[in-house]
Symmetry: C2
């Protein structure tokens, strides 16, 4: 079954209720950083849901804790980017990603002195927490990090398009790092039942439909000058590179980060029109807690620099002489 | 289509890899508290997933942040119960539920003094955090709270049965508070594809099957003397009480906590064989941040006390003369 067009998708699915608020935040952020001539990266992160009921009790979800996106956002900040972190509600976030509520509670010492009670971080936890907290506070003080959250696939698309339209004026200084695990399938709004599906009426059959490929209008219409990186996650190694390369050829964007579900924290392949560049962490690096995202982001920042160096079209497409 | 039997479910779905570790933790916890004559409550919390692929990229999920279960666990601790908190991985947990990583980060002050760096909680946050931290530390120091986590519906059932079998010896002092949002439907193991579903082969149709009703063996075989409370969440008010009452009649357990998705934080109905008892928070109580779970748990603790007061069978079933 063919997927509907992207125009149709936006016509059928209304914007989320908090859409205008988020759009205002995005607008202020993009305009401020564009004015300073900053590079701006849009990092998308986490999985999208596909509601199976209007009063949503059940939904189809995509596996993603948001590790890749949250870690990458930190490294982009280190490289001086302004970061729009567009993430699944409750997925991992930059800086706090390694500190759950319980982990932080266990780091705290309570000195109960009535009205003069104090709470301090235990000395042996300070050296772990301090550098992360410092970077967190610096990013927020500089206004360099904006969080916007989505849950369903339609919320994601509305936010994505809005961010792109605002980033268009940033031209080649905009970078899109589309790490979110976006559903390929959905249930069109008019096929979704209003109430919770009842088990008494027998087990339901869910007919999924293809989600339109938003990368096509994104690359061609919304942010034509940006450096666009998409992600490809597979579980079958044989499909990985062919599918990454097919996506590049189809959408004409700049790079696909290809990775296998099972090894995604140790190995990725940066697929560009000219090359497949493999990044692999050694066992020692993995044990030392090195994030592969640090390496991925460094390489992409370099490629983005070259893209910007090409300047405004049409100088770039020419030979260097 | 009829659901398979619960025996069949356990025969087809192997135990999760960390099952024996969790079983050992449960065993130590139950035996220790049983020995002291403590009341033990099993609180289940959060939604279960139904994997759609063996290398799970996609799954069907049930809406549940775990608010109800996490809050209730705190109140059971206040009432002197030992609490097994069996929860969906990454769902809300007792005490930390109101403090995400980011919220805690924003409460922290960093005094950067090189090797003598300290991190303290800001004075205006201490009064919010201190009472919660105090109760958290007390519960852990007393060994009164055990966390065990599940993700898929089959992990949930394996843990549930193991906990029940261990709680059986606690007799009527055991309380089951089954607040988890367990899937009614699943895809049997032999129908699940190995690799990620490919959109190129067209949108998939997902044929769901009914999950066997575990409440039947739970009440009759696994913990016949325990006080068992189940939950019913609906989106259609007309179905709420009839379905709660039908469940009580079918499974012969003690209580159904019935609630509507839209109003579940302000209103529930405790449905017992004899009565429907409505609990409603006033608007002022909701604004003051009162947890409805405090009221629910108080009422259930009272009912559980009466159940225990009946003593070991057969004294209870007789008239008070």
């Amino acid at each position: 079954m063919a997927s509907g067009s992207w125009e149709e998708f936006f016509a059928v699915h209304l914007p989320p209720t908090d859409f205008e608020d988020n759009r205002s935040l995005l607008k202020e952020f993009c305009e401020r950083h564009d004015q300073y001539g900053n590079k701006i990266v849009l990092v998308t992160s986490g999985g999208t849901t596909v509601p199976l009921e209007h009063n949503t009790v059940r939904f189809v979800d995509n596996f993603s804790a948001g590790t890749r996106g949250a870690a990458s956002a930190e490294y982009f900040l280190e490289h001086g980017y302004a970061v729009i972190f567009m993430h699944r509600q409750k997925s991992l976030e930059p800086f706090t990603r390694n500190f759950t509520g319980q982990k932080l509670f266990d780091m705290l010492d309570l000195q109960d002195r009535g009205p003069n009670t104090t709470i301090t971080v235990k000395q042996d936890s300070v050296f772990v927490l301090a550098p992360v907290l410092q970077r967190y506070q610096a990013a927020h003080a500089a206004g360099a990090l904006l969080h916007v959250a989505f849950t369903s696939v339609s919320e994601y698309f509305w936010l994505l398009r809005a961010a792109c339209e605002l980033l268009a004026r940033t031209g080649p200084r905009a970078l899109l790092y589309l790490a979110a695990a976006v559903s390929d399938f959905y249930v069109p709004k008019d096929r979704v039942p209003t109430h919770k599906m009842q088990s008494a009426s027998g087990p339901p059959v869910i007919q999924l439909h293809l989600v339109p490929k938003m990368l096509a209008p994104l690359v061609n219409l919304w942010v034509p000058e940006a450096y666009v990186v998409s992600f490809k996650l597979e579980t079958d190694e044989n499909l990985l590179i062919p599918k990454a390369r097919a996506a590049l050829e189809k959408y004409k964007h700049k790079m696909v980060v290809a990775n296998m579900l099972q090894t995604r924290h140790q190995r990725v392949i940066l697929v560009t029109p000219d090359a497949n560049q493999e990044i692999v962490l050694s066992r020692e690096e993995v044990h030392a807690g090195i994030d592969i995202e640090g390496v991925i982001v460094s390489d992409i920042v370099r490629a983005h620099g070259a893209h910007m160096g090409c300047g405004a079209p049409p100088s770039c497409a020419r030979s260097p002489r």
